[in-house]
Symmetry: C4
Subunit: 233 residues, 4 copies
């Protein structure tokens, strides 16, 4: 069942380690089959070196295990909230990559200081508010998803495909598991650049909307002219 | 004698180099056989590339060499203090990994700024006070162990499995040599994240106890639900 | 056509990835045949791992594709402005390398703090002013080239073979594609050193002109005595 | 002639690249045969990948080429000043390693903040004053050596085997070329740690002399007890 999606999700998880976004078991990637309403996700606490397609866990959107002998990632309820609330996404990723996590721990949204950011995220990447005591104590992982969804109440989740969960770390998503991983890689890189930018010039402000539009839309808009064909995200 | 423990201690020492926690001979890992009261430790000043199981030194808890032609690590008396005072630990590690060492040199305990820290250490990782002139001049390595033990007088050494020795660097411990190494890896990573977090937001404070409890206990408590079986550290 | 130049340009693009100046497709290198008035450049959005000589695009100085099935890099018009206005250059490179990009995002020229810089760039590497709304909205990539050229109105583009485009990132050039890549590598390294230098001593100022002359000219002047023959850039 | 020393000097130069202390040709190592009064040094501007024993240059203490077809490193006169003034050293190294170079560019001596430093350098690593206009314009490389020697007028060059040349970068030395390289590696690492230490605690001061004595002398004194035999530097 879902052999191709399992392959994609396995590859996405391995890419997290290969791109230095996750040590030990500190990251997880998932993918969804929208037709079947089933999500493939990494099992909890299993080393990347030992992951195989057959070890991937399959759950339905209520979190019931549909296939797999291993317990799914403890972050599964967060992934499910994303799939249920963000139509059109096909993959999701969570890591503790150090620069993005530092912004999350600092309780700061990541400002857009240049075209590297603007090429991939249409404006600042928001940091959620910290969860309340009640949100932490009951249904913590579900509430982590809900606080993300609320942060996008007024924001297009397809134009900004990532978030910083306060005191925790980044989540990203995308059209596929691979796209969600790429967004995590980019988020880490622009998080690093933004720290350095502010160190060099503490008074720096975000780029103007004109430059943001130019760069984001030349890669992602209907008139995109970057790459070999119109971007279809 | 102690063939399996020697293998584990050798592997732990090599892992220090592989994880970039130690260059040259700047780190050492040990393990204890509680039944025999014997500790296996790296010989002093030998390159990781030349280490073999047979070169490992075996000492008793008073530091007398029980086996091995080479002098044990000069930090052996510190390891022994840890084994004598921290019941239940099976391995210990000392490194000069740069980010953790920077906190130790700064004479600052490492605050808990997020869930990456809370997943592994139940609260701030303490920095000891500097040793006194007398403690440095007589029995220096023993006193290094004693200052660590005193720092845990009111702290559970199984809930916070590491320390920053002022002006020196990190020591970690764990249920096994491998677990002690993993704690050194994590300590280095959260030490880095904490520097970046404070750089982004100098006014940041530690996470609330509710979040600390949630994350530490979902991995380590009796109701742990992370991974494939209850954590048994 | 242009087989040798295609080889050089391919090698230059691969070197960008190998030197960690570009992830994904975030960099591009080009080279020019001055006799034919043709420029070889990386195709847009193609992974470095998939690049071959045959995939390289050939354009004339007006940007018309002379050979190649793929769309040239979206930054091609910027490269062309450089070739048209900077006589004597044979290669050009654009990257988003993090330390140089941070200076560009900080809207700051890179000061010359030492001999590493002075060995390669004859004084500060300028940061352009941000493009105006009109320059962004119409002919953006051409205008990116024009703002670079204007920054060198009073500056010798052969003595300072690189620039920081505000809110964007570095462009470098050189006698060949390989030389342009080397200049990108050096620019990234001195951009990093300069951040660290200012962190250690915020009051630091640029080196005196005497030291700048000494180092630049011992490698690049007519009396150069570095290396095995007079430098011929 | 000097086959063994050439092997050592070649190995030392290659180690500079392998330890990430030098990119391109940005570093050089040399060694001296005190009996013959001859110095083996890297040729100028030759890539590490192309270096062979036969390409090494041999010069006498006045800088006259005794063997070798290639021009010696442009820094040769600096190395010779060190050999002439620092009796007992057998090797010397110059790099532009980024963290040590940042301290040199910041015109700051490297303070001793902890035992990692104290294990290898007996106190702060001095930064020279900038060279004067006259020192730069005439016999620059000789004067670079002289300013180093003057910085050690009141300092034991065997207890502190390295220096930061203002606005330039680190030079180190040691009993052999390999030992000089190791000192460069250590200097880079403690330069990094010191930046981080000051970032965490800007008010930090150097360690007390008691701790400095303890650590330096347990590795280097006549009663040294680190390693497998008394250190014989």
């Amino acid at each position: 069942m879902l052999a191709e999606l399992k392959r994609e999700v396995l590859a996405a998880n391995l890419e997290l380690a290969r791109r230095n976004l996750a040590i030990y078991t500190w990251g997880n990637a998932s993918g969804i089959d929208r037709g079947l309403g089933l999500v493939v996700i990494k099992p909890s606490g299993v080393d990347y070196a030992e992951l195989t397609e057959d070890l991937m866990t399959v759950v339905d959107l209520e979190g019931r295990v549909a296939e797999g002998k291993l317990r799914p990632s403890s972050d599964t309820p967060t992934h499910l909230e994303l799939y249920k609330n963000f139509p059109g996404i096909g993959g999701a990723v969570h890591t503790h990559s150090p620069w993005a996590t530092a912004w999350a721990q600092a309780l700061m949204s990541l400002p857009c200081y240049g075209t590297t950011h603007a090429d991939h995220f249409y404006g600042a990447v928001p940091c959620t508010p910290p969860l309340t005591r009640e949100e932490i104590e009951f249904d913590y992982e579900v509430n982590t998803g809900k606080v993300i969804v609320r942060a996008f109440a007024e924001l297009d989740h397809l134009a900004v495909q990532g978030v910083l969960v306060a005191q925790h770390g980044p989540f990203t998503w995308g059209s596929s598991p691979a796209q969600a991983v790429e967004n995590s890689v980019v988020l880490e890189e622009i998080a690093r650049m933004a720290v350095l930018t502010r160190q060099i010039n503490p008074g720096i402000t975000q780029v103007d909307h004109v430059l943001l539009d130019k760069h984001y839309l030349r890669k992602h808009g209907t008139n995109a002219y970057y790459g070999q064909k119109p971007a279809a995200e």
